[in-house]
Subunit: 113 residues, 2 copies
């Protein structure tokens, strides 16, 4: 894990910053809802849901939720796409893999360099 350079440090600190707020971590945890009990962990098994659905879980103002989603999106952790009246959010599985690899200590496997 010590072989990461400044570029990696900046990238991952941005990612961890996005996950450093309880509301945002809850959103991200909901969206990357793979690995339910009794299931093999499978990163393709990612859920998606619209902004309103997330709002029902969180008890914060819609404007605050929107702000947090933008932060998660800026960090590359989630994708958002409009579908009619709603905006569908989903976890970005590539980044989830990058994070896993970061904590395993293998910088050379990252998809960006």
């Amino acid at each position: 894990m010590s072989k990461y350079n400044q570029h990696h440090i900046d990238r991952f600190s941005t990612i961890f910053n996005a996950l450093s707020n309880p509301h945002r971590l809850q959103i991200y945890t909901l969206l990357s809802g793979c690995c339910t009990p009794g299931t093999d962990c499978n990163i393709d098994n990612i859920t998606s849901c619209c902004v309103g659905d997330l709002g029902s879980e969180l008890d914060i103002a819609a404007s605050t939720l929107s702000h947090h989603l933008k932060e998660l999106s800026r960090a590359g952790l989630i994708n958002m796409q409009r579908d009619g009246k709603q905006v569908i959010c989903s976890a970005n599985s590539e980044i989830l893999n990058d994070i896993r690899q970061y904590f395993q200590g293998n910088p050379e496997v990252h998809h960006e360099s």
Copy 2:
């Protein structure tokens, strides 16, 4: 990963908050310097070094470094113990395992509950 409760969310958001600052992430990455290239990843292979050594790497005021170390320590990510004039810092490998498991999505394996 969706089976984490509020307690987990609060705990991990605190951890990610500690890693959300580039200087702190650099410190933590230095301290959890396992898995050098050509080496099998082995979390027992954790380095330790004193505050002054870390300061030589970072180009920030000593008081700032001290503040960051306190943050990492508060989050449980590192241990600090005085040895004579120096204070020795080391990564906490249990927490590193918890983080790995968080991103693997297995809440039931955590050492605290």
